[in-house]
């Protein structure tokens, strides 16, 4: 009868007690293996741009200032915390930390910028081994993403130039 089931439901509820956690008064750390904010270690990075090429959100920009200097910038806006960058990095320079409380009112807090000195390869200038055929390091050559406007530019050039790169597409922001 309905009354019995109501009593059973009542008992269920009371047995469980209060389960509300006192967060944020008391912290609630994420478990190990949690995919939080990615942290880039410039000391280990070789500048292969594998992370940038395999970021689904296209949030890592690469700019070659000259033959020897490459800038990697992690923008952190649309980052999906998927961890592909960390997975693909051949040097394990990226770790997915346990941080998830990343709200801030200044975007600079989330951005990470690496300026790398690139040693040139004798043969081609620069080349790196891709982890698998599906993670090709596409865009060999010089990368000229638009760091000033924080825009990924679909293309790369075989030589450095101050002209805009090929296939520049105008993206409208509202």
């Amino acid at each position: 009868m309905s009354l019995k089931s109501k009593l059973k439901e009542t008992l269920l509820c009371l047995k469980a007690g209060r389960v509300t956690l006192p967060y944020p008064a008391r912290g609630h750390p994420a478990p190990e293996g949690f995919r939080g904010r990615p942290v880039f270690n410039a000391a280990k990075c070789t500048g292969c741009a594998g992370c940038a090429n395999n970021c689904p959100a296209r949030e890592i920009l690469v700019l070659d200032v000259c033959q020897e200097i490459r800038i990697l910038k992690y923008l952190g806006r649309r980052c999906a915390y998927c961890g592909r960058c960390a997975e693909v990095c051949p040097e394990r320079a990226i770790t997915m930390s346990q941080e998830f409380e990343t709200a801030t009112d200044s975007i600079g807090d989330l951005q990470q910028r690496l300026e790398l000195f690139m040693s040139t390869c004798q043969r081609c200038g620069r080349c790196f081994d891709p982890p698998s055929v599906l993670e090709e390091l596409k865009l060999k050559g010089y990368r000229l993403d638009d760091l000033a406007n924080e825009r990924w530019v679909f293309g790369s050039k075989a030589y450095l130039t101050s002209e805009p790169a090929v296939d520049d597409i105008r993206i409208e922001w509202d």
Binding site: K6, E9, T10, C13, L14, G17, R18, V19, T20
Partner: protein, 306 residues
């Protein structure tokens, strides 16, 4: 002067109701939260809610803002007037002002103010809510009226201080009608105070707040206050009609007794509200129709002295 004492008494009663109603609401929410395995809001939260609402901008939306404002004032005013008519631990201040029929009409007026509110707002959802509220009222008010009439018949008079004094038990023989009416009122009490399973006209998930949809800010505060106060006043009426024991003890014991009984009633309301799903309007109406039939039987019993 003779006028001042009832006036002060009425104001005191009204003030008491205004002061305590949000506390009962807070207790209700806290108790519900315990059932739901969570912390729940602080006990004094409804006070803060009302303060917040009162401090908001009074936006005039809806079809006829004048009627909307009037409806808001009317609803709280009727409830506070009823508070002055109902004995809350001691004799009601406005005892001589009217009889039981006045009480019934006041209660109906309170319901009418909600109807006015919905009609004045004029949006689709509020109109659907109004139609549900009307149907519920048509089914419910007679129940309360019959309860009062049973008391009046047993007490032999319509005077409030005679009726609202456990008059239902006043019959010479075993008060069958009283027992029956007690059961009927217990089963329909949820509907009077508009709690699950009978808060149909304000079903948030279906009607987005129903008649009160176009209300925000201070006007909403008045309506919410009226709803909280209704819980207290109806409990008071129920206790006065059916459970008046201890009211002739010395003050303050009778006063404490009264509030203890009201607390028990509020806890019961919470329990039922926390463990039931909401009924649909046609199911609720069938339920009330059944109760109405039983109530009529009780009325007949009462008129035969049982």
């Amino acid at each position: 002067m003779n006028l001042l004492q009832p006036l002060f008494g009425a104001l005191a009663n009204a003030g008491l109701v205004l002061l305590l109603a949000p506390l009962f609401q807070g207790a209700l929410r806290k108790l519900t939260a315990i059932f739901q395995s969570r912390q729940g809001p602080p006990l004094l939260q409804p006070y803060f809610d009302l303060l917040k609402l009162l401090g908001k901008e009074d936006i005039e939306s809806g079809e006829s803002p004048v009627v909307q404002r009037f409806a808001a004032y009317l609803s709280l005013a009727t409830v506070l007037t009823m508070a002055a008519l109902v004995p809350m631990g001691f004799a009601a201040p406005l005892n001589g002002a009217g009889d039981a029929i006045l009480l019934i009409y006041m209660l109906t007026l309170c319901g009418v103010s909600t109807l006015l509110a919905g009609l004045a707002a004029g949006s689709t959802y509020s109109l659907v809510g109004v139609s549900r509220e009307m149907m519920t009222m048509i089914a419910l008010e007679p129940l309360l009226a019959i309860a009062v009439f049973v008391g009046a018949i047993q007490a032999g008079s319509f005077r409030l201080e005679r009726v609202l004094n456990g008059s239902v038990y006043a019959a010479g023989n075993f008060p069958w009608s009283a027992v029956v009416m007690l059961a009927v009122m217990l089963f329909s009490f949820q509907a009077f105070v508009q709690k699950v399973p009978f808060d149909i006209s304000e079903a948030e998930t279906e009607l987005m707040e129903g008649p009160l949809m176009e209300y925000s800010g201070p006007k909403l505060a008045l309506f919410k206050y009226a709803q909280m106060a209704k819980l207290m006043v109806y409990s008071g009426i129920f206790v006065a009609l059916f459970a008046p024991w201890g009211s002739d003890l010395a003050f303050p014991i009778n006063w404490l007794f009264f509030w203890a009984k009201v607390c028990v009633l509020v806890v019961l309301v919470t329990l039922i509200a926390a463990t039931h799903a909401r009924y649909r309007i046609d199911q609720a109406l069938r339920y009330f129709a059944g109760l109405l039939a039983v109530a009529f039987a009780a009325l007949i019993l009462a008129s035969y002295g049982h």
